[in-house]
């Protein structure tokens, strides 16, 4: 617990300035003051991937990442990947193959997939599985999520 400090960072391409406890996890800042609900709480311990975001294009766990370490950095959440009118290709592909049952894990899956596709535009099945291995899904939507990533890569 530390006194609030002023801080600026970029979230989904917009510069955001806050006065905030620098030890607060990014997840709480996104879901709270920034009103971005896509990034989800699952475990709080870097064990499930529900909270993944991109920090300068690299997947990072928002549940443990302190906001104070992110001054000047560039954050992308699912809201920044795409929208219903301008979806990211992984979002289009997930809808096309109906990847998701309860859907709770899907935000983290999209972030992991988007990062993979950015560095490897045509991954193999095992490369996709490896990239998503830190993301848990309890509903067993895995086959369709794998299919969605493969489809988005086409």
């Amino acid at each position: 617990m530390t006194d609030p400090i002023p801080l600026s960072l970029s979230v989904n391409g917009r510069v955001v300035s806050l006065t905030i406890d620098p030890t607060a996890p990014l997840l709480d800042v996104l879901r709270g003051p920034l009103g971005l609900s896509a990034t989800r709480y699952g475990c709080g311990a870097e064990l499930c991937g529900a909270c993944l975001v991109l920090v300068d294009g690299v997947p990072a766990y928002a549940c443990t990442r302190e906001i104070g370490t992110l001054a000047g950095r560039d954050i992308t959440t699912v809201e920044g990947l795409g929208t219903p009118d301008a979806p990211h290709k992984i979002q289009t592909a997930m809808l096309a193959v109906q990847a998701g049952q309860c859907g709770y894990c899907l935000s983290g899956m999209q972030i992991a997939a988007a990062a993979l596709l950015a560095r490897n535009p045509s991954p193999t099945r095992s490369e996709i599985a490896e990239a998503l291995d830190g993301n848990l899904c309890r509903c067993g939507a895995h086959p369709r999520i794998l299919a969605a990533v493969a489809r988005a890569a086409q």
Partner: protein, 698 residues
């Protein structure tokens, strides 16, 4: 149709206007009690309504799970949402359509046979009549008679089609869950739960809790309840973690290591029930084997969440409970309110697969909200709360004792089932936080019986095969070390695991092929169909000898012996661990409302069941549940999931069968049989970990 043949949901909620209205021009407002828990029911029910009403799927506005306006359909459990909820909605919509046609015929001075409906507009001999559901101002304030015949399957245009899930876009674009609900002035609450029910606070360091939250947490003691409120979820979480160590608990003896195993159950006092053949087993070749599953977790990816608001004497709760009316009753009893003061609204949550923390989190939020009128309270359980305080899936131990005839066929089977209770719901006294309120209701006694259908611990205890004589004895252990309740399939998974592994052991003893052995005792053509289909998919006829390190196994199950059929084949390789190489499934759903949705359920059950089979066990320590995050409760990951092919039998003219739990049971036995084939040695105790494999081969 006479009234007593109506489906239960319609008998309980006969008024048509409870189910539907046409109050918004161009829209059909549909209300149901069965709720979306990731199984796609909202989409399938919308398909049924659109089909019978002859409106477009995009004209349906569906409200599911709302005590103020939707029908009371009890719980969304047991794969009954299509079989019962869907059947009810179909009759309601068929009747509304008939009422509309009769009203239009009267207005147009023609016979109903001259009329047809498309997108809700009524045509007379194919030409627009100027009438529609909205101009007719139908009187739906009347009871359903069930007398309007629904469409024949041959006329279906929406039902039976692959339809995209209606809820998925919102979830993919970042919303759609109760977790995302924000109310004006909302604060965050947490109830401190004892490590186990029955423990009481012995010592408390309030200053440590305050310190962790920088002094920004409000600490409430009410009866035996200790609750925290903060404006910021960050502060609240810090205070909650501080509370975990700032409180000493007493009141119960420490747990011992043996209590976490299913083998502990037969050492305990139990209640006995029996069913089946009363004679003694005949002479013959006897085979016995004992199988087990430990306690397992629901493991929802999103911990349970709810928002509650008490304002002007009314309590409103938004939550992801599987039954809004049962929860309304629990809240009323536990918080000493009148049910009429309470509105419970379902919003989507993370998949629950049974009785997870949803109801308890909702009660927590409600209990705090009642103490802070006017302030909406959001409770989001931490991962540690979900794993540590949800009711877990019961451990079970199943002993099979069979007699083979001279031809090797199984002539007589005696099954002994030891199980912790599968239903921990049952009234106000059973909610966690209800027990800490002033003048708490007593917990309900364990109500589980030993009936064969639908059963709980005895679910699927009766083999779905022609065995000349069988009997089971059910030993219900009412006081397990941890709270237990319903988890996907209830006893079906351990019972089918035990039966289908045992059938392979019998086939081995008889020197017969496991598939041929099953077919010889299977008269039901639909069961034979899925078995032979999956065998063909898996190229069963090329199955090699046992003990090569690679194995092929199969298993069959018909959930509750009344719902969906599924046969599964699995190919594995085993060294010190089991690796899944490929999985095939053939299933029979009768009329599949949304075939792609059914396939998704089959896949999901296969993966969850494979995870239970290979990895999962709730771990205990002296205080209670010790496996409180994913590092101590691993589940199957992407890299462990093989290609899976599911095929649905084409049976559009047979009634729809519930499919949500069709694969969760047979997958375990299919893996067990494949692994045993690979090893040339039997694995009988779940999970099938490295230690069990080493034990089996040495």
């Amino acid at each position: 149709m006479i009234a007593n043949t109506l489906p239960k949901s319609l008998i309980d909620n006969p008024r048509l206007d409870r189910w539907l209205d046409f109050s918004v021009p161009g829209r059909a407002g549909i209300r149901v009690g069965k709720v979306e828990i990731g199984q796609g029911i909202a989409t399938a029910l919308a398909q049924i309504a659109a089909e019978e009403l002859d409106v477009g799927l995009d004209q349906i506005d569906l409200t599911a799970g709302d005590t103020d306006c939707a029908p009371d359909e009890g719980m969304t459990t047991g794969s009954l949402s299509i079989e019962v909820g869907g059947a009810s909605l179909r009759l309601v919509c068929a009747e509304a359509r008939a009422i509309a046609l009769a009203a239009a015929a009267a207005r147009l001075n023609c016979g109903p046979q001259d009329l047809s409906i498309d997108a809700g507009a009524i045509a007379q001999n194919g030409k627009p009549s100027g009438q529609d559901y909205w101009t007719l101002r139908l009187d739906l304030a009347r009871d359903a008679t069930g007398s309007a015949p629904p469409k024949p399957a041959s006329a279906y245009r929406v039902v039976g089609q692959n339809v995209a899930r209606r809820d998925l876009p919102a979830k993919i674009f970042g919303g759609g869950f109760v977790h995302d609900l924000v109310r004006p002035g909302m604060r965050h609450g947490h109830v401190v739960h004892a490590p186990r029910i029955g423990m009481a606070i012995a010592g408390l360091d309030l200053a440590a809790i305050q310190r962790a939250a920088g002094g920004r947490v409000e600490i409430i003691r009410h009866g035996m309840m200790l609750a925290l409120i903060a404006d910021s979820p960050t502060d609240l979480r810090r205070a909650a973690f501080a509370a975990d160590t700032a409180i000493g608990w007493n009141g119960l003896p420490p747990l011992t290591a043996d209590q976490q195993e299913a083998a502990w159950l037969p050492t305990q006092p139990s209640r006995h029930g029996a069913h089946g053949d009363a004679n003694q087993p005949p002479p013959g070749t006897r085979i016995t084997a004992t199988y087990s599953r430990p306690y397992i977790a629901h493991g929802s990816i999103g911990p349970s969440c709810a928002v509650a608001e008490f304002r002007d004497g009314r309590l409103t709760v938004w939550c992801h409970a599987q039954g809004v009316f049962p929860l309304q009753a629990v809240l009323a009893g536990g918080l000493k309110l009148n049910p009429a003061q309470i509105s419970v609204r379902h919003l989507h949550g993370s998949g629950c697969y049974g009785h997870n923390g949803a109801d308890d989190a909702a009660f927590d939020a409600a209990a705090i909200a009642c103490l802070r009128p006017g302030t909406p309270i959001r409770v989001q359980w931490r991962r540690e709360d979900e794993f540590g305080h949800e009711p877990v899936g019961p451990a079970m131990l199943v002993r099979q004792d069979g007699v083979l005839g001279p031809d090797g066929a199984l002539r007589d089977l005696t099954t002994d089932i030891w199980s912790a209770p599968h239903s921990g719901r049952g009234g106000a006294g059973n909610a966690l936080t209800a027990r800490t309120q002033p003048n708490p209701c007593p917990p309900s006694p364990v109500a589980e019986t030993s009936v064969p259908y639908p059963g709980a611990g005895t679910r699927n205890a009766i083999p779905n095969y022609a065995i000349p004589a069988m009997r089971y004895r059910h030993h219900l252990v009412p006081s397990p070390p941890v709270r237990t309740s319903a988890l996907r399939g209830l006893g079906a998974m351990p019972n089918i695991f035990a039966l289908e592994c045992f059938l392979d052991e019998c086939a081995d003893a008889a020197g017969q092929d496991p598939l041929a052995y099953r077919l010889a005792m299977q008269p039901d053509p639909r069961a034979r169909d899925v078995l032979t289909t999956v065998a063909e998919m898996a190229n069963w006829s090329a199955r090699g000898p046992a003990g090569t390190g690679e194995g092929l196994g199969l298993a069959f199950g018909r959930y509750k012996n009344t719902s969906g059929y599924a046969a599964i084949a699995v190919r594995v390789s085993v060294d010190t661990e089991i690796r899944l190489l490929e999985i095939w499934c053939a299933a029979d759903a009768g009329l599949a409302i949304n075939p792609d949705g059914v396939i998704a359920q089959l896949e999901g059950g296969i993966i969850q069941g494979a995870s239970w089979t290979l990895k999962e066990q709730v771990l205990l320590d002296e205080a209670g549940i010790a496996s409180r995050n994913w590092d101590r409760y691993p589940i199957l990951r992407f890299s462990e999931i093989p290609p899976i092919t599911c095929r649905l039998m084409h049976r559009p003219n047979d009634p729809s069968l519930g499919m949500g739990e069709a694969t969760i049971a047979p997958i375990g036995a299919a893996i067990g049989n494949a692994a045993s084939h690979a090893l040339g040695a039997r694995l009988r105790d779940l999970p099938l970990t490295r230690a069990k494999i080493i034990q089996a081969v040495t």
